[in-house]
């Protein structure tokens, strides 16, 4: 269970989050939608304890994020896998090493052992041993994203967080990544928190949509309920979504 209670955050004069209260039960795919600069990514950073709220509390399972020792924080990081907007794979390592780098014992494994241990995770994201020995720069952006998802999954987290997972991808690759998010989280019973601008794919994949505007939640419900939302930003998103179909 991920829970935020009355979370507020300001950067100088600018108030980015205002009294955000939210509970995401285990196993749910929850999309955070909103315009740029409305606090979605800031909210995500709060869930990892990378940022601390000015007011309010954030809880992930049994972790109270306000007072974590470095050791407990590392445990939290293993509980919550994150896929960044850009894949952030280590250029100096092979794909296989990138995938298993957080596993205990990694430092002792040879490159072949790294390939063997990474394969199950690469297969989960539709890749195989043909990419295992490549370096990230030798792969397309879409494949790098898949590797980043495999890496996040390899620590066997309970929750997966995605920060704009389809930035820079073509529509086909975006569809594939969203299908992958649904497949892997449902298969492993994980919670998925996805920060996105992409309403069309959110409607197709999410169990729940949360729309943020000026740091506040303006919609929180099922995707099927979203078209009935009266908020101006929601209407703008729907109109833009309809235009993209034409």
């Amino acid at each position: 269970m991920i829970a935020l209670h009355n979370v507020s955050k300001s950067f100088g004069e600018k108030r980015v989050l205002r009294n955000v209260t939210l509970e995401v039960p285990d196993g749910q795919i929850c999309f955070f939608l909103g315009k740029s600069g409305t606090g979605k990514s800031v909210l995500l950073k709060h869930l990892l304890g990378i940022m601390q709220p000015d007011e309010g509390t954030v809880t992930v399972d049994e972790f109270q994020l306000a007072k974590l020792s470095p050791e407990r924080h590392r445990e939290l990081f293993r509980r919550c896998g994150i896929v960044f907007q850009f894949p952030a794979l280590l250029d100096s390592l092979t794909v296989a090493q990138n995938v298993i780098m957080a596993m205990p014992g990694f430092a002792k494994w040879s490159e072949q052992e790294a390939v063997d241990r990474s394969l199950p995770w690469l297969k989960q994201v539709g890749l195989g041993d043909e990419v295992a020995n490549f370096h990230p720069v030798e792969l397309s952006f879409g494949v790098q994203k898949r590797v980043a998802i495999a890496r996040a999954m390899a620590v066997e987290p309970r929750h997966l967080l995605f920060d704009e997972p389809t930035t820079g991808l073509d529509p086909i690759a975006s569809d594939a990544i969203h299908a992958l998010i649904r497949k892997v989280t449902k298969e492993h019973g994980m919670t998925a928190i996805v920060v996105s601008h992409d309403l069309r794919r959110a409607l197709a994949v999410a169990d729940r949509l949360v729309m943020l505007d000026a740091g506040q939640i303006v919609f929180d419900g099922k995707p099927s309920e979203f078209p009935r939302c009266e908020h101006a930003t929601a209407k703008q998103f729907l109109a833009a979504n309809e235009r993209s179909y034409r």
């Binding site: 990378i50 960044f84 952030a88 002792k108 890496r151 996040a152 620590v155």
Partner: protein, 255 residues
């Protein structure tokens, strides 16, 4: 202010602590040594040879006035080994190895690679810095020693071919000026300079901020700070060695 002054020392301490439990990938230190060391070998050989050659020409000009060219081998080698060689080669390595390491780490920082490692529950200092630090110290030390060997060869070549000094005579005079303390000083300076290059480049690279402009700034600071600290360390080690030499009565000419 105080915190920022202590930050490099805390960083060094965290790096040294991380060696208790290695986290980096199998073969990473060798890989890093290959990256930073092998690519610098030719440059170091050329630099070393020409530093030796320049020193031989300069010392020869001074000695000629006194009709003391017989001391060329000893004086050239002593001055080069104790001071000029390590400093000039370390300058070169600061530009090559230091800049490379700083740019690589800086790029990792601005492309979220460091954050990604942290978010996987891995200590980025143990994972990224520890193998690079070790590789840069060892590579710089070995490259400096190799460069010093080539300063000797460069001086010898110029003395034989250009200055008409007999090769055997050049070599025979070396032990009169170059003692165990000269070699010790060269070894210690090489190790100190290598450690400084590793420390500064890793620290500046790791704490890069501000996108690609920030990477450029980190590399510039690495280069400048390495040069300044190498000169300071050169003075301090020379001073300490000379004092120790006086105290223990070591032979050789302190330069």
């Amino acid at each position: 202010m105080m915190a920022s002054m202590l930050a490099p020392f805390e960083f060094l301490l965290a790096t040294l602590r991380s060696y208790r439990r290695p986290l980096w990938p199998h073969g990473e230190v060798i890989n890093q040594m290959h990256q930073v060391g092998l690519g610098s070998m030719i440059t170091v050989i050329f630099t070393g040879a020409f530093v030796g050659a320049i020193m031989a020409v300069q010392v020869s000009l001074e000695l000629r006035d006194f009709g003391a060219q017989g001391f060329l081998g000893g004086l050239t080698t002593s001055v080069t080994l104790r001071n000029v060689g390590p400093v000039l080669i370390a300058f070169l390595l600061a530009g090559k190895v230091g800049a490379y390491t700083s740019a690589e780490l800086g790029n990792m920082r601005v492309t979220d690679q460091v954050e990604a490692i942290r978010c996987l529950g891995i200590d980025p200092i143990g994972f990224l810095i520890a193998p690079r630090f070790l590789a840069v110290v060892v590579s710089s030390f070995l490259l400096l020693l190799m460069g010093l060997l080539f300063t000797l060869l460069g001086g010898l070549a110029v003395a034989s071919w250009q200055l008409d000094v007999n090769t055997l005579y050049f070599l025979r005079e070396i032990p009169r000026f170059v003692t165990g303390s000269s070699f010790s000083m060269a070894l210690v300076k090489s190790l100190v300079f290598g450690t400084l290059i590793a420390w500064i480049s890793c620290y500046r690279g790791f704490f890069t901020k501000g996108g690609s402009a920030g990477v450029g700034a980190a590399v510039r600071r690495t280069a400048v700070e390495c040069l300044v600290w190498i000169l300071i360390a050169d003075y301090v080690t020379s001073f300490i060695f000379n004092r120790l030499g006086e105290f223990f009565g070591w032979g050789g000419i302190a330069v």
